[in-house]
């Protein structure tokens, strides 16, 4: 018997005037050129059951966040109605009750903490409801205990990590005794470990307290854990169903710019290679996908492919462009709260190499890269960049011409009146001539696909993803030989992410040395020639992706996570020992598998039937 908690009935919503209204807080993706689709939410009908875990997927600007704000009564539908637990969000009398029962967690952990101490922040909601002492104090301490922040009750918010801040936000909701938790891309600014922790916490809330969970996300690893997935595009509800059903639409989702789980994608494309479609939902989990593939395919004996030639050519290259030797760094050196950030780090980067730096939050990644262009002064050890010895460089700007650093969320550094001026800022400061500047800006703009028509606009009119591209162009316009990027794709949706990473690949192929800092193992594994793994300020490993991810011991200790494609391929190693599991992209994995499999007779029969069916259908429609 379905017990509908939230009933969305044919809801439309348009921002009054998209040019001067702030876009949804979580992601200002209401850019000037997609403002033409007037409705941010367009005739959406959806019922959400009590205690259900619903994931809402969609690209930035697809109306997901607006939908969340509508449920919470932060916006009122322009047409249609929303009922939460039998109460309409239009009703003035019920709105506070709806907001209390539907707690909302936003994207930026910093921008939802109100108070100066942790416990006061948790108390903020209940205080607003007028809950008296001593119930208030009890609610606060119970909520803090539930999320595991009791030890921080009297600390300042600035002492917490991003993941802890989101836990604090959840505690603030729990203290209000909610019936529903809405997460508006609440994990998108967190590292993978914190993400997992938040999702675990949320699922615990669902199971133990029967909370309804609505998770608006880009991360399909989160979405597969939901009971149901809804996909939105341009304000419309496009698809809805169990994760197994929805993620089976591999090509449709990818066409929308969304991700599907790696094992589903590999199996799907392997099937497609042999013109075989699998039954809907049969590829949902890695186990199910393995089972399905074993059912349809026979595994063959083949000689091992020995084709990893790229590293060898690099080994011949002469002197390194970056040479870091025995670098250590201590923050607040000499004070009681001194913190060791780096300890005896050594590595070199060769010309043209695509070099990855990987590590969890607090592993010293950002401290390390700030050494590379002299933002942090060397305390011990040495750094050589090209011909510069950083211990002796007089004019640091000379060095920065050659090595450029792109920080996380670089869109926050835009400031000029026009996009053109902002991109030209760097080259100007570096003393390029005006004609050179014009040329460089043009070239940079082409690489990152910034349209000519944007150049005279204010950068603040652009959407988040567009701003990021402008920021990247501002770095490229200095024509650096070495490019260091800190999580360049953070917070973007899958298609935006892929786009940015693709620029990296293009630049690398054009000869630029790229140093990519990330905590995303999958991205690093498929892009990088070599990876440096940092752990608590120390060098844990340095090697090719294949070498790194063969370290079973470290994977078992939880210091490394196997890239999803390799993890999936390893399932077939027992069937064909020669299979090369060092394939870090879906394409590579599919072509590697395709060499080793053959359709079983039953599957071959199936292909014939599917083909016939398709022909017949094609015939009737024509």
């Amino acid at each position: 018997m379905p017990d509908t908690f939230i009933d969305i009935q044919d809801v439309c919503f348009a921002y009054p005037d998209s040019s001067d209204t702030p876009a949804p807080a979580s992601q200002s993706e209401q850019s000037f050129y997609d403002a033409e689709s007037a409705n941010a939410v367009d005739h959406v009908s959806l019922k959400i059951e009590r205690g259900e875990h619903l994931a809402v997927l969609g690209r930035n600007g697809s109306g997901k966040s607006t939908l969340a704000r509508l449920i919470n009564g932060l916006e009122i539908p322009t047409a249609g109605s929303i009922w939460v637990d039998g109460k309409s969000t239009v009703s003035e009398a019920d709105i506070w009750d709806i907001r209390r029962s539907c707690g909302m967690i936003f994207q930026n952990p910093d921008n939802q903490i109100v108070a100066t101490t942790i416990e006061e922040d948790v108390a903020f909601g209940p205080e607003n409801l007028g809950i008296p002492q001593p119930q208030l104090g009890v609610a606060v301490s119970q909520a803090l205990a539930y999320v595991g922040l009791s030890d921080y009750a009297r600390s300042a918010p600035s002492e917490l990590s991003g993941g802890q801040k989101q836990k604090l936000a959840i505690a603030g909701i729990i203290a209000m005794q909610p019936a529903c938790l809405i997460m508006d891309e609440a994990t998108s600014m967190l590292d993978p470990l914190s993400r997992q922790a938040i999702i675990k916490l949320v699922r615990k809330l669902q199971q133990e307290r029967g909370l309804t969970i609505i998770n608006i996300t880009h991360d399909m690893n989160e979405a597969v854990q939901a009971d149901r997935v809804a996909v939105m595009q341009q304000g419309r509800l496009l698809m809805e169903g169990s994760p197994a059903q929805v993620f089976h639409q591999v090509e449709t989702l990818q066409h929308l710019g969304l991700d599907v789980p790696v094992h589903t994608a590999i199996s799907f494309y392997l099937g497609k290679h042999f013109k075989l479609s699998f039954p809907s939902g049969s590829l949902a989990t890695p186990e199910a996908a393995e089972e399905q593939l074993r059912q349809s395919f026979r595994f063959l004996e083949r000689p091992k492919d020995d084709g990893t030639a790229k590293t060898e050519t690099l080994a011949d290259q002469p002197r390194p462009q970056i040479k870091v030797e025995d670098v250590s760094y201590v923050y607040q050196a000499g004070l009681p709260n001194a913190k060791r950030a780096l300890e005896h780090i050594d590595f070199t980067v060769k010309p043209g190499e695509f070099f990855g730096i990987m590590g969890h939050s607090g592993s010293g990644k950002s401290t390390l890269i700030q050494h590379l262009n002299g933002l942090l002064r060397l305390q011990s050890g040495s750094v050589n960049i090209l011909d510069y010895d950083l211990r002796q460089v007089k004019d640091i700007r000379q060095l920065r011409r050659h090595i450029q650093l792109l920080f996380q969320y670089p869109e926050h550094q835009l400031f000029a009146e026009t996009v053109w001026d902002d991109i030209a800022f760097g080259p100007r400061r570096m003393g390029f001539s005006e004609t050179e500047i014009a040329e460089n800006v043009k070239a940079a703009v082409q690489v990152v696909g910034v349209e000519e028509s944007w150049l005279q606009r204010s950068p603040f009119e652009l959407s988040g993803g567009e701003k990021r591209r402008v920021a990247l162009a501002g770095i490229l316009a200095m024509k650096p030989e070495i490019l260091v990027l800190d999580e360049p794709a953070a917070g973007l949706d899958p298609a935006g992410r892929e786009e940015i990473l693709n620029y990296m690949r293009i630049l690398s192929e054009a000869g630029t040395t790229v140093v990519l800092v990330s905590h995303n193992m999958d991205d690093l594994a498929r892009l990088c020639d070599r990876i440096l793994v940092l752990d608590h300020g120390r060098r844990l490993l340095l090697g090719t992706p294949a070498e790194i991810f063969s370290r079973q011991d470290l994977i078992e200790q939880g210091k490394l996570t196997l890239p999803a494609s390799k993890a999936f391929l390893r399932r077939f190693q027992s069937a064909c020992p020669q299979l090369n599991t060092d394939c870090f992209s879906v394409d590579a994995a599919v072509s590697e598998l395709a060499r080793f499999v053959q359709l079983k007779p039953a599957a071959r029969e199936e292909v014939r039937q599917q083909q016939a069916q398709k022909d017949r259908r094609g015939g009737t429609t024509l």
Partner: protein, 267 residues
């Protein structure tokens, strides 16, 4: 990056534990009395009382002394002005229209001492032993009666507390933006004042934009958590006068009464 605002000195002394309202009112009273006394004996006794309070608070004496640094110039200036402008029967020496008078010397000295005492007493009672948050709370409660006249005391306190909350966040952000712009060739350390000021534009604009965005998001988050102004709100930590406050207030009143008696004699 950790960041401490003001110069709160953590401790558990009586002075730390007093209700902020007591301390705010006491500071006001101390200020008033300090301007009413002028004779050496009451001033010396005030000084001794101040010394006693410092000792009791556990705040290192040099920290308290450091707090007068900003007013040293003002005190010396006032003192010099007094020395040269106070009329007297005889002068130590004269130069043009300036006459150094012994009377002026003493008047100026007492004035300077009172200024130092004033700063030290308020610093000790307020910033050194009271956290900024307690201050905001105390001010809100003291101003609350004015709310009936339409004075936004709750809003004022909320603004103060949010400002306090975001100081470390914005400090962090400033650091990040400066680093990002430095990487692009911006230079904040060399060049003349104008060049440097212009360089700061590349920091201030992004900072301003981000602060506005934060404000917008924070407002949404507060609304989502049912914030609708001060009416009907309860507080996790309610300020409550304790016996300590009563005791300390009585002691203070006694000392101040003694000072006034010494100054003006028994009426």
């Amino acid at each position: 990056m950790t960041f401490t605002l003001g110069n709160y000195y953590p401790g558990a002394s009586l002075l730390h534990k007093l209700d902020p309202r007591t301390k705010i009112l006491a500071s006001l009273l101390l200020m008033v009395v300090l301007f009413m006394i002028n004779q050496p004996l009451p001033l010396v006794i005030f000084g001794l009382f101040l010394a006693f309070m410092i000792a009791m608070s556990g705040v290192p004496f040099r920290l308290v002394l450091k707090s007068v640094r900003p007013v040293v110039f003002l005190a010396v200036f006032a003192w010099a002005l007094n020395v040269f402008t106070t009329p007297d029967d005889h002068y130590w020496f004269s130069w043009s229209f300036l006459h150094a008078s012994p009377q002026g010397f003493w008047v100026g000295l007492r004035m300077a001492v009172r200024l130092f005492f004033l700063v030290m007493a308020t610093q000790l009672c307020l910033t050194l032993t009271t956290t900024p948050l307690e201050m905001a709370d105390g001010i809100e409660r003291l101003l609350r009666p004015l709310a009936r006249l339409g004075f936004p005391s709750h809003e004022l306190a909320m603004m103060m507390s949010i400002a306090l909350r975001f100081v470390p966040t914005l400090a962090d952000e400033t650091d990040k933006i400066m680093k990002a712009q430095s990487s692009r060739g911006a230079d904040y350390d060399t060049g003349g004042a104008i060049a440097r000021a212009r360089g700061l534009v590349s920091v201030l604009i992004p900072l301003f934009v981000s602060a506005l965005k934060r404000a917008d998001e924070l407002a949404t988050a507060m609304e989502a958590r049912c914030y609708r102004g001060g009416e009907g709100r309860t507080r996790l930590h309610v300020l409550r006068f304790s016996n300590k406050d009563i005791g300390a207030s009585l002691a203070l009143l006694l000392v101040l009464a003694l000072l006034l008696v010494l100054e003006y004699g028994l009426l």
